[in-house]
Symmetry: C2
Subunit: 340 residues, 2 copies
């Protein structure tokens, strides 16, 4: 009998097939594109093809916007939001608009166009996540921004327009709806139980082990109970903190290790699937009243990894109702058994 | 300057490119599949290839599950939910689950596998929408169900597994999250303004005409102010009613005409695009207190048409944050100018 499962944070119901789970081999393979570095704007030596860098980790003695970097952050050449100007919030009859002021940056994860993130050593992955942290910490000082969204689109079907491994940062003057829903759900649970829902989830997942994918001393990776997508994985820190940018230096190697192992397992199990990941973190401006006053206790930053194995039908986007053909328990079992 | 626009009902912010709107010719064409009726389980004469029909409009004298029908409704052969059994709601530690009890039906819109819905005459389209109404009115008597979702996936990328024109009905024991958000948004607006937001939207769209696509005496088709997708269109009745199944016989020809004209315009402008549509209607069981007590005044059923011209990145699903490359004003202007 298929099940209806409720996401404990946002209350979303998902239909989970429990009888015949779709096995990894039943999903379509993802053709891997091999990139010619000479035509790749993100490759080392082509720094002049991107806007000037806003951050880089470089070898001693190398110069900005030249070769010699390991990670490089540049403004998006085709930004969805513009960095300069005023918000000019105004009505349009009954509607509301403002200028799309914000930052849109690209984090180039490696000079090598053909080196996927999970194939980097732990310290290479840590460099990428440190670049996220530095850019976030810098941008949150801009009073116009409410939220900083960091995400990765890997593969064309996942929204990547260039195959060179990269992530994106979008700083916006509004908080995305799904973030708000998570924050509100976390606050509601805390008000009712006087416990953090993230702590309760972590306790159940590590004790039961049914949906566990990997854990180390700093982080736990598991397939969420009400996964919308086959092989969806959440990576969550053991330490309570609402803000990604407040990650401690000693946590970074554990995060890099957890991401490396999880992404390698997904890559091996699903034959290098296309995927997205998103860092869910607290908003950078917080009202002093109402919702979110307990955010330091009730909300915990985390990463959602969404492999793109099934089509996202507009129907699902329109209704918020998902059908997941692979039970998360089965997905987690596969991923646990994969050795990397 | 790109804009941030807020959906007036659910409060979702969307980035709308206003400078260089993506023109219809810039989107990828959709290859049209021609179906061989002999291999098509939905074709006339192949009725034995589907489960027994639960409803059909037939020529006088024709027999159930044989030829002679215009519209035919059958249970889905691979249902996401099962019709028989108890819900057995129960906890799983901190989580909640229940059996996925529900109905999953297929509305076969025509015996002709190669006749798209919009190419049918008005009375053919009215027959399809009448089939929706009849099935909805029948299923809502089942006390286990809370919501009846009617939608159409047209084209493979839009989630259709068979090209023969068909729609789907899913009756569920829970209300989808996006429906709840709309209901709550509508109730909030009504509590604040003592007016229906749907009436206010309709007034502004018909007066300004900027985003208007088509109108007749019963229905208005327009591109919503905060469209998530290029060429998104909403079709809304002029008469206040929360429930699709309460549509009046005299409204039906106007609905069929509005859908026919809108879908023909989209088909001509965008070269037969893949699309989804979803009927947003009130839930079938309503609490007597709290939210939704004003539903008869504040919520109005409507249809969302979502052409599938851009990829839905997991990022967008994960964050709820959409970037729309075509301003709805430009999309509406194109669609108004297309003659059908």
């Amino acid at each position: 009998m298929p099940e209806l499962r409720k996401d404990p944070i946002v209350g979303r119901w998902v239909i989970v097939a429990t009888e015949r789970g779709k096995r990894p081999s039943e999903f379509l393979p993802n053709p891997v594109e091999v990139v010619d570095p000479s035509k790749d704007p993100f490759a080392e030596g082509n720094e002049h093809l991107t806007p000037s860098e806003v951050y880089a980790q470089r070898k001693p003695g190398s110069k900005p916007n030249g070769p010699g970097w390991q990670v490089r952050v540049v403004p998006n050449r085709f930004p969805a939001l513009r960095i300069e100007g005023e918000l000019d919030k105004e009505p349009c009859g009954i509607y509301d608009r403002m200028n799309a002021i914000g930052a849109h940056e690209v984090i180039i994860e490696t000079p090598d166009p053909n080196l996927p993130l999970e194939q980097q050593p732990v310290d290479g992955i840590a460099r990428v996540f440190e670049a996220y942290r530095v850019r976030m910490a810098d941008l949150l000082r801009d009073q116009r921004f409410r939220y900083i969204l960091i995400f990765k689109n890997h593969g064309r079907q996942a929204g990547a327009t260039l195959p060179h491994p990269h992530s994106q940062l979008i700083a916006t003057p509004v908080t995305p709806n799904h973030v708000k829903e998570k924050l509100e759900g976390a606050t509601r649970y805390f008000a009712y139980k006087d416990r953090s829902i993230f702590e309760d989830i972590l306790r159940q997942e590590t004790r039961e082990g049914l949906r566990l994918v990997y854990e180390n001393d700093g982080f736990v990776a598991f397939c969420p109970f009400a996964s919308r997508f086959p092989f969806e994985v959440t990576v969550m820190p053991r330490r309570q903190s609402p803000d990604y940018h407040a990650i401690q230096p000693e946590e970074m190697p554990f995060l890099a290790d957890a991401m490396r192992v999880t992404l390698q397992k997904l890559s091996k199990a699903l034959n290098q699937p296309q995927y997205n990941y998103i860092i869910h973190t607290g908003p950078v401006r917080r009202p002093r009243q109402g919702y979110w006053t307990t955010i330091d206790l009730d909300f915990r930053w985390h990463i959602e990894i969404l492999p793109r194995l099934t089509l996202i039908a507009g129907f699902e986007v329109g209704s918020g109702f998902y059908i997941n053909p692979t039970p998360p328990e089965e997905a987690a079992k596969y991923l646990r058994e994969i050795t990397v």
